[in-house]
């Protein structure tokens, strides 16, 4: 379990990054402006956290039609999607473990 703990530690234990991953898990792809408006964060905060997620291999960026123009949009990588599901399993097991003790 401690191995899992450290595996998820850096990315998922931070509110904004978990929020970004949840949105991208649900929505497939989102523009920067959409992420910013849904989480009501500043440009800098969204950018910093997205960059960390990109560096970790969880999120990828691409150019696509969004709104009324072509823009940089963000989506989860296959790895990011797998890790998000794994994190949900991990959280469930932690809560169940907490209930048993």
């Amino acid at each position: 379990m401690s191995e899992l703990y450290t595996r998820f530690d850096g990315v998922f234990f931070e509110k904004t990054r978990l929020s970004l991953l949840t949105l991208l898990f649900r929505e497939e792809k989102l523009s920067f402006k959409a992420l910013k408006s849904k989480l009501q964060l500043t440009d800098g905060a969204v950018y910093t956290h997205l960059e960390k997620l990109i560096q970790g291999g969880y999120v990828e960026k691409m150019k696509e039609a969004a709104g009324l123009s072509v823009q940089t949009v963000y989506g989860l990588t296959d790895f990011g999607r797998q890790e998000f599901v794994a994190y949900l399993d991990f959280v469930r097991s932690m809560i169940l473990q907490g209930e048993k003790t």
Binding site: Y5, F12, F13, K15, L18, S19, T22, L23, R26, E27, E28, K29, L30, S31, F32, K33, A34, S37, K38, E64, A65, A66, G67, L68, Q71, V73, L88, V91, M94, I95, G98, E99
Partner: protein, 199 residues
Amino acid sequence: MRSKDSYLKDVQLIKEILHEQEDRVLLRPWVFASWAVIIALATGASTYLRESAGWTGGMIAWRVWIAAILLGGVLETAGWLRYLRREEPVVLTAHHIKLLLSFVGVIVAACAVVSVLIGQGADISAVLPMLLAICMFILAVFTFKSLFAEAYALLFLGIFLAVVDVSPGTLYQIAGYGAAVVFAAAALHTRYVLKGRNE
């Protein structure tokens, strides 16, 4: 190690985000309010013109309702453009394409059924609220789920008009003003939802 509470907070955060995404508001209240006013005015104007100026059903359809639909369509398009500018959504995801293909098919089929009914001389006062209900059902799938209330209201209005025994003129006015009331309710409902989210 983190406490159990912090994991519960994570679950709560994920649930809140998923709920808000599921129940997002796309069109602003003024779009529904515009439709309510346009439908009410077109119903009133067409009733007056038929009774006082002797306009035929064809003249009313072309000169009143087509103009009303065009005006409403322009305003609704403006509402969608504002949404696209505000949220900048990615519109061509696999999920969206599947939904759009399905809904365009439903709308085209429904319009074809209505035109066949008109061609056979049927009174369409009961059919039009149902056609509006189909549009509202489709919008409710994309937007917040409580908008299904207005969609069902339009559907029941159509069913009621199909079975009630009143003169065609009264039927026409109930259909028009009834639809306007439902759109006004949708405007207030959307405003209430937005207010609840401090938007």
